[in-house]
């Protein structure tokens, strides 16, 4: 597989002089293709130990199930939490979990920047004619993260069956957009966290507060939390657009901040804006990189 990869590398458009917008696009396409190659290599390497993979997949599934088990235990004691019944909380849980699971699968490895800077392997990535972000994100690509996506999808499916809503095409489109835009927003958080580690190598745990903390926060109704916190995750770290705002719209509830109606549909634009900003920060971070020389 390594030889196969090496054969494909010299054809990379990354080595050509880049200036025209077309070159940027072709570089992005090459980045995606390279991501595919590296991810496929890691999948093949994991599949060499099938039993180990099966155990890890099951463990991933079970670990994320615990969060929902805690919610089930809560609902064994109460009928509603913050005015939301179990199927509604399950809907929030499912959308948050699937969106986060997708971004974790595709970009979760970007959190390893600090370690690579410390042990000096970041230099290796810079010498290859493949975008650094593609290499980092695909590094140790692991399908066991499908465990979280599967578990979230099951809960989401159950909630969709239990919610007594009419599933109009509009609502279905909303759910799909929640998962995709949510994954993009969480993905930006992963990459921003990685970029931050160019400046603070040991601070990788800070991003856990926004990634794992974020998905936990979004599993619960916004009515539980203080207004300042809800404002913070709407306007500063726009996690509220992952599922809170669109989900409240689907569930036919008012949002606690009383935002204008178009905010419910703003997720795709917020996601695009996040991606653009993240791109800039990532480049700045990469430029600020100083090799440790070890």
């Amino acid at each position: 597989m390594a030889e196969e990869l090496a054969e494909t590398l010299p054809r990379s458009p990354g080595v050509r002089p880049r200036s025209a917008p077309g070159a940027v696009l072709s570089r992005a396409a090459w980045g995606l293709r390279a991501y595919g190659f590296i991810a496929a290599m890691w999948v093949r390497s994991t599949m060499a130990y099938r039993a180990s993979f099966a155990i890890m997949l099951a463990a991933n599934f079970a670990t994320t199930s615990l969060d929902f088990a805690a919610i089930m235990i809560m609902f064994a004691q109460v009928d509603a939490l913050g005015g939301f019944a179990l199927p509604e909380v399950a809907f929030l849980y499912g959308t948050s979990c699937v969106a986060f699971g997708l971004s974790d699968l595709l970009l979760g490895s970007a959190e390893r920047v600090g370690r690579r800077v410390r042990d000096g392997t970041m230099d290796v990535l810079l010498t290859r004619p493949v975008p650094v972000l593609a290499q980092l994100a695909a590094d140790r690509f692991s399908l066991r993260r499908l465990g979280r996506i599967t578990q979230g999808s099951l809960v989401l499916g159950w909630s969709v069956l239990r919610l007594e809503l009419e599933w109009t095409p509009g609502r279905i489109a909303m759910v799909c957009s929640m998962v995709l835009c949510g994954a993009a927003i969480f993905g930006c958080v992963f990459v921003l966290g990685g970029a931050f580690q160019f400046w603070a190598q040991d601070a990788s745990e800070v991003q856990n507060a926004f990634t794992y903390g974020g998905t936990t926060l979004l599993q619960y109704p916004p009515t539980l939390f203080g207004k300042e916190l809800v404002r913070g995750v709407t306007f500063v770290v726009p996690l509220a657009f992952v599922n809170w705002l669109p989900a409240l719209h689907v569930l036919g509830r008012d949002d606690p901040l009383g935002l204008p109606g178009w905010a419910d549909y703003a997720a795709p634009f917020v996601a695009l804006l996040c991606c653009a900003l993240t791109g800039l920060v990532w480049r700045a971070g990469l430029r600020a990189y100083r090799s440790t020389g070890s």
Binding site: A59, D202, A203
Partner: protein
């Protein structure tokens, strides 16, 4: 005396080793605090619906949240600490070097892990608890006696947590790749320590059983000792922890004896 001095030195170096990473510690404090806030708000909603759920009032429930966040790193609820290092040494054979050192294997790792835990209790525990106490109305005791009992319960919790992780790591002698077992152990620890929800909230016989398992000695019992909510008083809680600590350390010692007979050192 010599043994005591040696293990103390090992513990001190464990403390200093973790104290080196100041940025990482600050990052951990930040994350613990954020999680503390998220959990605190969900607990407020839950106790608002059912005011005396699990025998706690709301401020006791909130105290439980912040005690949990303060102890999370120290008692290694999510695994880690010496465990990763020891597993790796078993996998790559470096454990042979540990075995011919003139020190006891179990005591060596216990001392190192207690040193780490002492640092993480101070470095990652104090600030989140202080922030929680400032932001919410917590039921923290005023008498120094209760805090001393709590510290004793934390020490026992650290020993029980070590003994459990030592058993898991020793299984690496047979499994070689302990990743799956580590994941299972984290899972059990996370759920049955009371980290996600206090075990007193678990319903019926399931809850009763959960409170008898060793994981409850790592978080539920110390929190109850601090809150004065331990059934039978603090002494019963400490006795429960001591019992599990002795049983698990003895099991670790027995398994270690069997495991080290398996070690074959190739070459010289």
């Amino acid at each position: 005396m010599h043994l005591l001095r040696l293990n103390f030195a090992v513990a001190v170096s464990g403390f200093r080793r973790y104290a080196t990473y100041r940025v990482a510690t600050a990052a951990g404090v930040f994350t613990n605090t954020v999680f503390g806030f998220i959990l605190a708000y969900t607990f407020i909603a839950l106790w608002h619906e059912r005011p005396h759920l699990g025998g706690y009032d709301q401020s006791q429930a909130l105290t439980f949240v912040w005690i949990g966040q303060a102890m999370l790193a120290s008692v290694a609820v999510m695994g880690g600490g010496f465990q990763d290092e020891f597993s790796e040494r078993i996998r790559n054979g470096d454990v042979a070097i540990d075995l011919y050192r003139p020190v006891d294997l179990q005591l060596w790792w216990l001392a190192a892990d207690l040193g780490r835990a002492a640092f993480q209790l101070l470095g990652r525990g104090v600030v989140p608890l202080a922030v929680g106490a400032l932001a919410f109305d917590l039921a923290l005791p005023a008498s120094p006696g209760s805090w001393l009992l709590f510290l004793l319960a934390v020490l026992l919790a650290l020993v029980v947590s070590f003994a459990l992780r030592y058993l898991v790591a020793l299984c690496g002698f047979w499994l070689l790749d302990a990743t799956g077992l580590n994941a299972l152990s984290t899972l059990l620890s996370l759920f049955f320590s009371g980290m996600l929800l206090p075990l007193t909230v678990f319903p019926g016989a399931f809850g009763e059983t959960a409170r008898l398992l060793p994981w409850s000695a790592t978080l539920q019992v110390p929190a109850d000792v601090l809150l004065g909510a331990q059934p039978g008083g603090a002494a019963a809680g400490l006795a429960f922890q001591t019992g599990w600590a002795l049983v698990l350390l003895a099991a670790g010692r027995a398994l270690q004896t069997v495991a080290t007979r398996k070690v074959v050192v190739q070459g010289g």
